[in-house]
């Protein structure tokens, strides 16, 4: 079964540093997403991406964050100047264009900011 692949599985970074979280969506999917889950809290939508541009973003997704599809297969989330409160599990997901298909989530990247 096709999978969404995220790397790394765990990243530790110092406060103020920039991190890039990487995702390889399912190859025939056209919509891409990032969600995050702070420990003990619910999964929150960050951003959706379609046709090489952001289609929707949450109020969490401020100037500190950016997304990119640098080539035909990768989808990245960049977090600039990380803060302690950015520590969370970050999930990438992708979906097919027909709206009745559900998402496929990756297994997540646990980001720890120290």
């Amino acid at each position: 079964e096709p999978e969404v692949t995220q790397t790394p599985s765990h990243q530790v970074t110092q406060m103020g540093q920039e991190v890039i979280l990487r995702c390889v969506p399912i190859s025939n999917h056209l919509y891409f997403y990032w969600y995050r889950q702070i420990l003990g809290q619910k999964v929150e939508f960050l951003v959706s991406f379609y046709n090489n541009e952001i289609s929707e973003k949450s109020e969490i997704f401020d100037d500190q964050f950016s997304v990119e599809r640098p080539d035909g297969s990768n989808f990245t989330l960049k977090i600039r100047s990380t803060k302690l409160e950015d520590s969370a599990m970050y999930f990438c997901a992708s979906s097919e264009p027909e709206e009745y298909y559900g998402y496929t989530f990756g297994s997540g990247t646990r980001l720890t900011v120290v």
């Binding site: 995220q6 929150e44 009745y100």
Partner: protein
Amino acid sequence: AQSVTQLDSQVPVFEEAPVELRCNYSSSVSVYLFWYVQYPNQGLQLLLKYLSGSTLVKGINGFEAEFNKSQTSFHLRKPSVHISDTAEYFCAVRRGSNYKLTFGKGTLLTVNP
């Protein structure tokens, strides 16, 4: 705006007992409803989804859910749980015209021997 309420943060049950995890949503438009499961240290796996048609939806691992439009609920059930069902369960809703998923806070199901 839509919201999802999972009424129970934790549900402990004994093995082979039935279980129901409750989910209520609020939305003024048509919605699609999902249940995801998260096993310890793993990602989110789709259990089942309601898109249209029959209000009783069957998913993987013997789980099923019933969509009740009048009560705006989408409760998850399993007639007999196994220890391996221990996990966090998330209800999620998506508006028909929007691809964003809104999640509930999750219910931790703990199955004891």
